[in-house]
Each structure stands twice: as C-alpha cells, then as structure tokens.
C-alpha cells in the first residue's frame, strides 16, 4: 500500500473515532465544507480562534469562582458564550459540559461549577490535541500529493 493510501486510511479511522466518541459532530463537518481554495486554512483558523477564546473564558471563570462571593451571573454568561462557540464549530463534548455547567450556575452551586470547569478544561485540552493530530495527518496527505477528504 502506498503512503497516500495509508495516510487516507489513517485519517478515515481517526475521524471516525472523533465522531464516534463525540469529540466533534456534524457542525464540524460543515466547517470543513466551508473551507475551499480561497481559504485553505479556514478550519485551522476558526479552531485556533476557538481555543484562544476557550482559554480566556476558562481563566475568567476560574477567577470568578475563586471569589468569596461568586457572581454566578457572570460565570453563566461566560458559559453561555462558550456553549455558543463550541456548538458552532461542532465541539460536541464541550458543548454538553456547558449545558450541565449552566444548570449549576442557575442553581448557584459553586462546587458543581468548579467540577464542570475542570471538565471543560479537560475537554478543551483533549480536543485541542485531537484536532492537532487531525490537522497533522491532513498536512501529511497534502504533502504526499493528495487532497483533504471531507470527513463523514
């Protein structure tokens, strides 16, 4: 089997894994479909933006939850934002944690919030690593003379 076929097989398996495990959903597929010749780096660009935002939001939420008196409204608005942006790139797991997170904010449950924040952080790191691996595979395919297949 030549290199290109090997790589294609790898990326197909890896993508299937990402979808199966709920790391990404259909919205991520759509993101990839939006990428074209005029904007070959679109997905990477959006994903990077997302992780930048993610980091900021997580830091802000951590600070807010450390306060003597927690401003749950503030935390909730951060969660809301993260939920929105994670849903628009198809980061399904993160989105789901945000849903649970919101209920803790509404219930003014500090411990619940802290747990969710840790989960969010964990999911962000995992997704970041996974997508970096995916992009690397894509780069290798392009370098080997192929083009990036649309993920299903």
């Amino acid at each position: 089997m030549d290199l290109l076929s090997q790589l294609r097989g790898q990326i197909a398996d890896f993508s299937a894994f990402l979808y199966r495990e709920g790391f990404v959903d259909d919205q991520f597929t759509q993101l990839q479909r939006l990428q074209d010749e005029s904007s070959p780096g679109f997905v990477v660009e959006v994903v990077s933006l997302f992780f930048e935002d993610c980091e900021k939001l997580v830091n802000n939420m951590a600070k807010a939850l450390e306060q003597q008196i927690v401003d749950f409204k503030q935390v909730d608005s951060h969660v809301h934002q993260l939920k929105g942006s994670s849903s628009s790139i198809g980061a399904a797991r993160i989105q789901n944690v945000c849903i649970a997170f919101k209920t803790h904010c509404e219930g003014q449950n500090r411990d619940g919030c802290v747990r969710c924040l840790q989960q969010v952080n964990h999911e962000c790191i995992q997704l970041k690593n996974n997508l970096q691996a995916l992009f690397k595979l894509e780069q290798q395919i392009v370098a080997a003379g192929g083009s990036i297949p649309a993920m299903q």
Partner: protein, 182 residues
Amino acid sequence: MQMMQGNIWISLNPLGFAQGMTLVLWFQIRPSYGRAIFAPGTSSEQPNSNSQFRGLSVILADDDHVNRTVTKKLLEKLGCEVTAVSSGFECLSALSSAENSFMLVVLDLQMPEMDGFEVATRIRKFRSCNWPLIIAVTASAEDNVWERCLQMGMNGVIRKPVLLQAMEDELRRVLQRAGEGL
C-alpha cells in the same frame, strides 16, 4: 440597478399620488450551475449554489468572534458580500452611514449591551420602509421567539448552530416574500 435584475417602482396610492419610492429588487433564482469547488474524492451532495445570492450585501452582527467568523464564511459561501460587526451599536452606525446600502441584516439576538430585538426595533424606527431585511439568529428553542421577531419587524429566524442549508433556505424564503409582498 438593471444589472442586478432590479426595478425601481413608484407606488401610487388610490388617488394616484406618488406614495413614495419603493425599491423592488427581484432576485432571479437561477439554476445552480455555480462553480462548486470539489476536492477530488469528496462526495458533495450539497447544492453549493453560490450564484444565487451573488451581490447580496449583508451586515452580520454577532459579538462572539468564533460565531462571527463561521457565519460570515457561510454567507460568503452562498455568494453574499458580508460586513461583520461585533455589536448592535456598530450595526446601527454602519446602517446609517450614507455610503452603505445593505440589503440584509443577520442579527444575533443574544448580544450583551444591546440585544438583537432592540437593534431591530431601532432599524425599523429610522427606516420607514421594510428594508433592509432582517434575519435573527438565536440559540433559543422557545416557540414564541418567532412571534416576537415578527412583531419587531424582522423577516426571518434561524436557530443556532447555523447550518448552511438552513441559512440558504431561510434567505431564499425571506427574499421571495420580500419580492411578493408589495
């Protein structure tokens, strides 16, 4: 105007006096033979008819950077010319600026400071006609969101996360109704 298949009509009230200029833009919905960009080996069942909305100038207002980037790209994929802003204030000032003539506003309802409802209300206030068209984008799953939007003078609603097909369908629907209802 003619290049865009448009016409300018002067609407007459029953007594024959010119009621005012009504700008009528008819968008011919052509069969989609648009340049679909296929990477070899991909199965692309989506219509990708980016010739359909070519020339449609849109203001996109969303405070979230990621959402703004994705939705902008989506609209551009459909052929629109998009100006993206991050707040209701920026949206209103872009609209009131004389050089700009936007046909459509795509408006996130849940923005801080000034939400989409307020933006829409203000747009309809200083423009007495039903132009630009307004499509609201909302994460809310409540049934009465659509009604509220209609009451505020909006023309369409899309649920988040925004899908290409959903945006295309809603754009087409809104434009068709705008063309008919005059």
